[in-house]
Symmetry: C2
Amino acid sequence: MANLKDVARRAGVDPSTASRVLRNDPNQQVRPETRERILDAARELRYRPNALARGLRTRRTDTIGLVIPSLDNLGFADVTHGIQAAAAAARRMVMVIEASAVPDAMQDVSERLVADGRVDGLIVAFASVDDGLVAQLAERGMPLVLVNRRTSGVHGSVVVDDERGSRMAVEHLVGLGHRRVGFLGIDADTDTARRRLTGYGRAMTGAGIPIEPGWLAAAPPTEDGGRRAMRSVLASAGAHPPTAYFVASLMSAIGALAELRATGRRVPEDVSIVAFNDHPFAAHTAPALTTVRMPNSRMGEEAVRMLLDAVAGVPARDQMIEDAPELVVRASTAPPAG
Amino acid sequence: MANLKDVARRAGVDPSTASRVLRNDPNQQVRPETRERILDAARELRYRPNALARGLRTRRTDTIGLVIPSLDNLGFADVTHGIQAAAAAARRMVMVIEASAVPDAMQDVSERLVADGRVDGLIVAFASVDDGLVAQLAERGMPLVLVNRRTSGVHGSVVVDDERGSRMAVEHLVGLGHRRVGFLGIDADTDTARRRLTGYGRAMTGAGIPIEPGWLAAAPPTEDGGRRAMRSVLASAGAHPPTAYFVASLMSAIGALAELRATGRRVPEDVSIVAFNDHPFAAHTAPALTTVRMPNSRMGEEAVRMLLDAVAGVPARDQMIEDAPELVVRASTAPPAG
DNA sequence: CTGAAAGCGCTAACAG
DNA sequence: CTGTTAGCGCTTTCAG
């Protein structure tokens, strides 16, 4: 591999001159002729600057770190896709840590990515907010953007309009004629989980429907969580259980759906169900799930943009992607029986 | 952030001595007392060596590059998970390029990851083998492991036993009493696709069943591909179409299933279907898919191990993960009607 | 057992 | 307009 010195020698100039030209130094005053010689030499030698050497000098790595809980969660694919696309467009590399595969992931990230100087900034997606390490990193000045979370202490986050998406889902059910609408929420102390509950509440209130406590349950956003939440509502709702459910995560909706069928309830004839977040697979469940599709890929793109701003010194804001959620009506919702 | 000089100063030694101790230089002869002083100083200053400076000097980055086609393909989640786990265990970082999000991904990888010196080696998962750039990189001596592919020209690959998995799937169908078994294969010139076809062929021959050309179709391993392949067989198979299908990819199985249902065929009453590769979601299709589960996560782990060997100078082999595939019987297979 | 010195490949301030 | 110089933070001979 040719290095700068090789290029300079071949062009008959000093390495610093070659560097100026090849970096497109804005205050360069290089004669066009010299410039051409250097460019030619670089091309002929297939020169590419060594990233480590440059990074050591400039203190920038052009690399961002991405922390993601687990890749099998269907919801993350979209977000990571957006992140990858935006990063590539901005010519940044992405180092990924999948938390579920790495014991003590946040610790690892803060040592091997941040302290060792491998990244310019960090995108933390779907973190449980109580992770003190995240706050610590932010305090120490590491550029950092939270995705799908907000938390006091950390400035810089991107979320989608969870409340609006949830409202749309519930309004769809109410519009079909349902009055007893259950809510299977996410059992986590995150603003995201809260906003989804709020959306449900607002939609119900807006429709003039009083909510019964027995209609609500919370569980982790997993298939099993959804199953358990559904079981819990069915057990406590008494003689008049909900005729429809809004489930605040796609994975739990799948579990909830399975539980309904396992207990002999027909969807959508007996019970309707709509999930928060979409995925191609939702078209293939039994029955196909009605969902609200959130602009998750945009959320990922925006996170990169914000992070690069933060790296450049622009203070990070807390942003919400305003793109309208989209209701995807499939087969799991219908008017209530009777 | 403290650097080596700071540590050395605080311990009252030369940086080189501090380096020796902190790296655990095998031929160090440092007095235990000095050693302790250095270790203490490093601990107090929370010293971590700068990865760029070290890499510049040692020509090793402790980072591996991972090229993956797309994260929404359910099959990749497992493999990446295995890669992440093994990499973390070996204290290596992973730079990920999602090809579907990056225009001209291989070109990008070979410039920004390899030529710029950001990685010690490359794992290329599910690549279309005809990519000349991969072969070029291998020739230029970049340590490289192919996952789920073999190709002449590139040495170093990990695959699973596609043939055996396919045989198991088809034997399951034959065991249920099916004689007319169709094959929806992958339309790609890869050894992997070929081995799945071979497995089908062997199982049929082993059962003494002659194969009709009209039972076979190939398409890309996508939902739409599966749909089209199914349509093609249904169109060409005449009066006695297959009563069962082995579909060589999970995504196309989902499409094939959808197509069967769309054309009014009942699964498994009229037609059985079994897919190659499993995923939790397969339990929730309508009906739940019978699959063969391949040791994909192991494949990812092994790829990392092989790559690190290659980086260390051990010539890379072509390996097959011998762990037995597992038949996961769900609701999409049953004895033929009548 | 430890220190001095050189240099990985690059950039950036300063001179000229 | 271009070259000289001095590092970024680390490792690694070579001396002593």
